[in-house]
């Protein structure tokens, strides 16, 4: 029984009068491959945003590892081991593919002042001093700094290779075909050395062959990097194909969770996707997809 890497405990968020997410609960452990589905506007991306710190939950908690991360900045949550991709691709368009991944590869520098607690004033000042010192090393181009840069380049190149994008190293991200852009976003997310990977509609816009390749790739990533993965997807075949556990949202609420077979046959799920009139006219059929 491995540790829980990511946990949402009855997280809710409200925008004015709109309850975008209600009592959202979820657990991801190492090796998990879970899915988050639901009709459009159900709150799936909102859930991602709450998990990654873009929104602060109005009630409930989010834990990355053992740490409660409510209200933390997205970059802090990322450093704790949570990485994501975006529904509408958000690559750094003017940067090359290699640079996109390099941005994410944060270097392992020996800090000037060891930072024990990054939240307190002392911790923040120490972190700032470390950062200024690192800029100083960059300006002087110290051999140590040069080695770290080479290391970053190596790690980024490896990730491009894993995602099959080595031939695009020096291309500007905006010039890449759509499917490769999606793969690049995943490579970039992996650069942050996450323990949990959140993929927001990674197969959107792909053709059947690309989707099949993606399914294989996601499993490989899970195995190779020892990740826990949560996928938002609309493509039922993909979700049913790779996810071991599925959570279904509708209007911000969780209407079903469980393994694919159970979810597929769940009345509420079918209703949410196809409408209750469908069930009236097709009482016998049960399965979705």
């Amino acid at each position: 029984m491995s540790d829980v890497l990511l946990k949402a405990d009855r997280a809710s968020i409200q925008f004015g009068g709109l309850r975008a997410l209600t009592d959202f609960s979820l657990e991801i452990r190492q090796g998990d491959l879970r899915g988050l589905i639901g009709p459009n506007g159900a709150g799936k991306t909102t859930a991602f945003n709450v998990l990654t710190g873009v929104y602060r939950p109005t009630s409930g908690d989010v834990y990355v590892g053992a740490r409660r991360v409510n209200g933390k900045q997205p970059h802090q949550i990322n450093r704790l081991g949570l990485a994501r991709t975006f529904q509408n691709i958000r690559l750094f368009k003017a940067l090359t593919a290699l640079d996109n991944v390099r941005v994410a590869c944060l270097s392992d520098t020996a800090p000037l002042f060891p930072v024990r607690d990054a939240a307190g004033l002392g911790g923040r000042v120490a972190a700032a001093c470390n950062n200024y010192y690192d800029w100083w090393r960059a300006m002087l181009l110290t051999p140590g700094f040069q080695r770290e840069e080479a290391d970053i380049e190596r790690r980024a190149s490896e990730l491009l290779e894993v995602m099959g994008l080595s031939h695009r190293r020096d291309e500007h991200a905006r010039n890449l075909p759509y499917g490769e852009q999606r793969r690049l976003e995943i490579a970039r997310a992996l650069g942050t050395r996450p323990k949990v990977l959140l993929l927001d509609e990674p197969a959107a816009g792909m053709n059947t062959r690309e989707k099949a390749e993606l399914m294989v790739l996601i499993r490989q990533l899970r195995d190779r990097f020892g990740l826990g993965i949560l996928v938002i997807e609309h493509d039922m075949k993909l979700v049913m194909g790779i996810c071991e556990h599925i959570t279904v949202l509708d209007h911000g609420e969780t209407i079903a969770t469980g393994d694919p077979q159970a979810v597929r046959a769940d009345r509420k799920v079918i209703e949410a996707y196809l409408g209750d009139s469908y069930l009236e006219t097709h009482p016998a059929s049960g399965a979705l997809a």
């Binding site: 958000r90 750094f92 090359t96 390099r102």
Partner: protein, 344 residues
């Protein structure tokens, strides 16, 4: 931008540019010092290059919009000027007076830069947390507040100006700092820090999601940019006889903005070239204007609406400016490789 980054580690690689530049500048120094006009012009050009390249780090690489650079220049100028005034009579024992003067000048410049950097931190930290447009207004306001404070403070000479600052600036010193700021800009751009800044410019939310502390990085860029603006101001204080707040108005800030927009937001090369052209061109036209006299308006007066028109035309026609984000050191190797192939 092409892929950027160093290949291997060595002190030689790090120090090489300095080893080339220092002797070169030292050699040019005696030549230039015999021509006072050339000295003055090269100093003005040098100061403008430092301002443009430093602002480019914030407005170009990080994609922010700071329009109060003259305020930091002013802070640096007055801080360095006051420091030099206080130590005017001092000298470092055991050194020839020229060297002692130059070292004290360096001290003054570092003081000016440091004070400007502190102001950069104080201005940047609260405003960089807000939406992008607000930075523009805050930096504009900052420049204005500095001007008003100077005009109301006796020790800074009020509106009449601060006089008596020892005129110790030399060609060597100005262009050493020009070299320094260009080197810093280049090294930052090619490093992981620079990539993070570019990422912030491209998509702040994605950068944040990839672990980049966007606010901290924006503030860092702002502080370093302010430091160099302060140094530029300090140099300026040491080659103009009287330092008055009229040199550091919003107009000056906008001049620098026009330079980097025309050169290409993000391109250090573009910033340098635009600074040179936009400083020399009005000077060259000045004699022309004196001969023809455009209805009583001088070059300085016509310059401003022309800059305005230039900005509008650029944004409508070629918003990436002259160079976009390309740098001569990226383009040159590829061009030379192509030339070699053709000649082979």
């Amino acid at each position: 931008m092409a892929n950027a980054g160093p290949a291997s580690g060595s002190w030689l690689k790090a120090a090489l540019p300095l080893l080339v530049a220092v002797p070169l500048l030292a050699a040019l120094q005696p030549l230039v010092s015999t021509m006072p006009f050339a000295l003055y012009i090269s100093s003005i050009v040098g100061v403008n290059i430092i301002l443009a390249v430093s602002l480019n780090i914030v407005n170009g690489m990080t994609g922010q919009f700071s329009i109060g650079h003259a305020g930091f220049m002013a802070v640096g100028a007055y801080a360095a000027g006051l420091f030099s005034l206080r130590v005017k009579e001092l000298a470092i024992s055991g050194l020839p007076p020229m060297l002692s003067d130059q070292l004290l000048l360096v001290a003054a410049l570092l003081v000016g830069g440091a004070v400007a950097a502190v102001f950069g931190f104080m201005v940047g930290l609260p405003s960089l947390r807000l939406r992008g447009d607000y930075l523009a207004i805050v930096t504009l306001g900052f420049g204005e507040i500095i001007r008003v404070v100077v005009q109301n403070t006796d020790v800074l000479g009020r509106a009449l100006g601060l006089s008596g600052v020892p005129q110790r600036s030399t060609f060597f010193m100005v262009w050493l700092w020009v070299f320094a700021v260009v080197l810093v800009a280049r090294r930052v751009a090619n490093s992981s820090h620079g990539r993070s800044l570019w990422a912030i410019r491209e998509d702040e939310i994605a950068a944040e999601a990839m672990g980049v502390n966007t606010t901290a990085y924006k503030v860092r860029a702002f502080v370093i940019s302010a430091f160099f603006a302060g140094v530029a101001g300090g140099l300026f204080a040491h080659f103009v006889p009287i330092l008055n707040p009229g040199s550091f108005t919003w107009v000056k800030s906008m001049e620098v903005v026009v330079m980097i927009v025309a050169g290409g937001l993000g391109s250090t090369t573009g910033a340098v070239l635009a600074a040179v052209v936009l400083t020399l061109l009005p000077e060259a036209l000045r004699t022309l204007f004196n001969q023809f006299g455009v209805g009583g308006s001088s070059v300085d007066q016509v310059r401003m609406p022309v800059y305005g028109l230039l900005l509008v035309v650029l944004m409508l026609g070629r918003p990436q400016g002259l160079f976009g984000t390309t740098e001569v050191w990226d383009v040159l190797p590829r061009w030379m490789a192509r030339m070699k192939k053709r000649l082979a």
